[in-house]
């Protein structure tokens, strides 16, 4: 029989049979689990697009996003100062990145950094996706003073001032909502005139 090193004697002689076996076992286990880690890559599907990607084109007509008239074109005459609605570009309602909040204010109410060139007859539109955690923003109407109405995200109470380029005036949102150009067409419908002037969606 071959003389083997017993654990204790072997300490002085360098590697023992027991330590060698243990080492091989640990290395094998580490290898096995390490190769399992590559599975995590498979389990996380590749990105399809880069976050919110809008498909709005200049010229697209704005339609109601919700309510009884969802899908119907928004007429300029249907809104008075202090009103706001959620709107989609016509025919592109399945992409949440296309959701905008269309607001009508007094024409003289706009202050910088609002891009007045992107507004028309007091109509202004901003991305409706809160820059905090992606909820859809709502409209906090002020009946007494329509121009003091503001945009609020009901999830964590971020507040945006639509008369000042949707500047963050309260709450945890890190950046303003991006503005997008709108104009009133000859037939009284509203249409987009540009792309968003900044990033949309949560800034994470």
């Amino acid at each position: 029989m071959v003389e083997g090193n017993s654990g204790k004697e072997g300490v002085n002689k360098g590697i023992t049979r027991r330590r060698f076996t243990l080492g091989v076992l640990i290395a094998s286990l580490a290898g096995a689990f390490g190769s399992l880690l590559t599975m995590l890559k498979v389990l996380a599907p590749e990105k399809k697009g880069a976050g919110y990607a809008t498909t709005i084109q200049p010229g697209d007509v704005l339609v109601y996003a919700q309510g009884n008239s969802a899908g119907a074109s928004i007429m300029a005459s249907a809104m008075k100062a202090g009103d706001a609605v959620l709107a989609y570009p016509s025919g592109k309602t399945s992409n949440p990145a296309n959701l905008v909040q269309l607001i009508k204010l007094d024409e003289k109410a706009f202050k910088p950094p609002t891009d007045v060139a992107l507004t028309d007859q007091g109509f202004v539109a901003y991305s409706a996706i809160c820059t905090h955690l992606g909820c859809t923003v709502s409209w906090a109407a002020n009946a007494a003073s329509p121009d003091a109405s503001f945009t609020e995200c009901r999830c964590h109470n971020s507040i945006f001032n639509p008369a000042e380029g949707a500047k963050v005036v309260g709450g945890p949102a890190p950046i303003p909502l991006s503005q997008i150009g709108v104009k009133v067409r000859q037939d009284g419908m509203l249409a987009f005139t540009s792309d968003f002037n900044g990033p949309i969606g949560p800034q994470v």
């Binding site: 389990l43 996380a44 959701l99 859809t136 923003v137 890190p174 949560p202 994470v204």
Partner: protein
Amino acid sequence: MSMIFKWLDERLELKKFKEKFLSKTFPTHPTFLLGETALFSFITLAATGIFLGFLYEPSTRMVSLFGAMVPAAYASVVRIDLLPMGLIVRRIHHWSAMIMIAAILAHLLRVYFTSSYRKPREINWLVGLSLWGMAMIAAFTGYLLPYSQFSVTATSIAYYMAKSMPWIGDWAARLLFAGDFPSEGTVPRFFFMHVMLIPGTLIGLISLHMLILIKQKHTEPRTNRERKEAQGGRRLIGIPIWPEQAVISLSYFLFLLFVTVLMASYIPLNPIETYGPPSPGTPVMRPDWYFLVVYGFLKLVPGDLVFTLLGGKITPETIGGVIFPALNFLAYALVPFFDGAKDPQHYMENPLHRPFMTSLGVGAIIFLCMMAVAGYIDVLHITPKAMTAYALVTTAAAWGISYVLLRWYNRKRGL
């Protein structure tokens, strides 16, 4: 009956099992029912979950429901609600989840305030914390399944919270949500996690929790010490598992079930038909109470708090949704190591006799309550800044006042 018992005993040695295991002494204290409440709620959850699992469809394909096109998951839950007993089973499931988390928290507080986490029970404290975390994740993955407007909004918020993790956020969010959210992969993945992965982990952790408990035994009420000394030093005072403890536990389980069914019958919750299927607008909504702390804290983080740390982007979402919950759990995990003991402790402490740890606990409770209140700043008309100040002041006051009072009380006792 005796014939069956004899037949089984000859094969499984039931008598031996009874002598060795079922005769084990079980110390009694009313607060020991808190942990049992959590355990029994979990059993109710599993039972009702099996019923719901037969009827639920984990898919977002669009189907017709009363003439409207809605996601199949939403339609299947509406159909469950319309079944005889369907709605009540769904409500029992949801109520049990709330009761389970409430019981875990109450149990945790009991262990904390009686200092039962000290040596040798540090490991079980950590296992208990993981159980709490797992129960919250179980509840959270359950949120999405009905695929109502509420579900989608809540899950979307969590998706961006996961995404806001520095360095790994983008990948971690795609791993957990099976791609971007909303996409068709998320509901099947959450369904699998909710009915398989998480309950499996919970069962494993519960078993570990119980095994360690059986090995280490309960901490006993202080009064047992004097009784033991009078009786000549028995190791534990209590009642055997079979039949006394078993009868108490079974009666308690049935009572708990009665309360749960009563609540499910009369107190509606998560009315998905009111929320409706996913739509563009976000309604006013708040998460279930156990998420209010994180929800409230998210509202308080100022929006301009954005910076880069070692190449990782830290945003208000990161601070509120990742760092804050992680720091909370870390603080709780450190408790038994911060307030350790050199020798094994086997008796519950009177919280009034431990001013420092008790006042720390009181401060923490007030802080967490204030964070939950912060979830309501919109209806209370408080600005985030003012709310932050209120929270800090009340927390400091609760901590300080309780500490001073307890010190004064102990000085009067002569300690």
